[in-house]
């Protein structure tokens, strides 16, 4: 190994340098031994080449200095490496912390989502209940009305043969408003509104509405939903061909709401 190869170490990476440094002690030792032997020899011989010894010594010192420097650098690098390891551990710890938090957050989000969903469902059902709320007085009134007229509960003395029924009978239907309208001889136009005939004054006076529920009970706002005749319907019972056996509608005071109102 010549001095040249030893000098070229400054070009390589520290590792390389370190690697070479590992070789250096052996080399140093070898050189040191050689030098000592040479010095010993030169003691005996009268220093035939003093220049060479000085050169070699200087080289040795120089190499030693370089070696020391590199050792220092290596030490520092070691320290840095240790710090890096510590920091890596920290980073790992933080990472696992973050993952833990992430899991908890996900759980919390799930629980909250369920809670919110259930709350919404509850609100929906509250809304629905509120919409359908009716005063108990009205319900009782209605219950009385439909029971008293035997519309939903048969009279206690009912026997087969009794003409009363839970639905409007033929007679009731014919004597109602629609029944009378269907019996009009001039009612030839199909599809016109039932009110037209009345408005045109073609119905006898007796048929003008006089039933209690219709005139006073119906609040002004209580009108049928507007339908604008989309379905272009022909109300059965208004056709001439059905006049004879048409079962017309009933509105005696007993049929639609009224009695005890």
């Amino acid at each position: 190994m010549s001095a040249n190869t030893l000098g070229s170490q400054s070009d390589k990476a520290t590792k390389e340098r370190n690697k070479n440094l590992y070789l250096k002690p052996a080399v140093f030792y070898f050189y040191f031994r050689e030098l000592i032997e040479m010095l010993a020899l030169s003691r005996n011989q009268k220093l035939p080449q003093p220049g060479e010894d000085t050169q070699i010594l200087e080289l040795l010192v120089q190499r030693d200095r370089e070696f020391q420097d590199l050792m220092e650098v290596a030490q520092q690098q070691g320290k840095v490496h240790q710090e890096m390891q510590l920091l890596e551990k920290e980073v790992e710890k933080r990472d696992s912390d973050i993952q833990q938090l992430q899991k908890q957050l996900k759980e919390a989000e799930h629980i909250l989502a369920t809670a919110v969903y259930q709350a919404k469902e509850k609100l929906k059902s509250i809304d629905k209940a509120r919409k359908g709320s009716i005063s108990s007085e009205e319900i009782i009134k209605y219950a009385h009305r439909i029971s008293a007229s035997n519309a939903v509960c048969a009279p206690l003395n009912w026997v087969p043969g009794d003409p009363r029924r839970p639905y409007p009978t033929d007679l009731e239907m014919r004597s109602g408003m629609l029944g009378h309208m269907a019996n009009l001889p001039t009612n030839g136009v199909n599809g016109h509104l039932p009110g037209d005939a009345l408005a045109a004054g073609r119905l006898p006076d007796v048929l003008t509405p006089h039933y209690p529920w219709q005139s006073s009970d119906v609040p002004v706002g209580m009108l049928p939903p507007h339908h604008g005749n989309d379905f272009g319907l022909e109300p059965p019972g208004h056709n001439k061909e059905n006049e004879d056996d048409v079962e017309a509608m009933s509105t005696d005071s007993s049929s639609s709401s009224s009695d005890s109102d």
Binding site: P166, Y167, G195, A199, E234
Partner: protein, 131 residues
């Protein structure tokens, strides 16, 4: 646009008509004349569902009609109504249902009466013996 008078008349006629649907015989009549097959009529039946709302339902004297109205929304039911046997069956069941509550009441009264009878029997015997 209809006048208020027209609207009120329409209200009354629709009220009457919807209640007539409670009558199975009338339903049979409608079915046999083919009304239940006409699209406009079917649409009208759907429109009549507004009678289920409480503010309208309170005018109904015969609430059975609402159940019939609901059934009438189904094509299968409308098809079956042509059959006179079917409507007769419906009529019978409807009447039996109608009588259900009164039957329950009479049974209850009978049960009460039976309970009281054993207590009333001894006194008449006592009187007869006295005579």
């Amino acid at each position: 646009m209809e006048t208020e008078e027209q609207a009120r008349n329409r209200f009354q006629s629709e009220l009457e008509f919807v209640q007539c649907l409670a009558n199975p015989n009338y339903l049979n009549f409608l079915a046999q004349r083919g009304f239940l097959r006409e699209r406009p009529f079917i649409n009208y039946l759907k429109y009549l569902l507004y009678w289920k709302e409480p503010e309208y339902a309170k005018f109904l004297k015969y609430p059975h009609c609402l159940h019939m109205l609901e059934l009438l929304q189904y094509e299968h039911f409308r098809k079956e109504l042509v059959n006179a046997q079917c409507t007769k069956f419906i009529d019978e069941q409807q009447l039996l249902h109608w009588q259900h509550y009164s039957r329950k009441r009479t049974r209850l009264q009978q049960a009460l009466a039976e309970q009281q009878q054993p207590q009333q029997q001894p006194p008449p015997h006592g009187n007869a013996a006295a005579k």
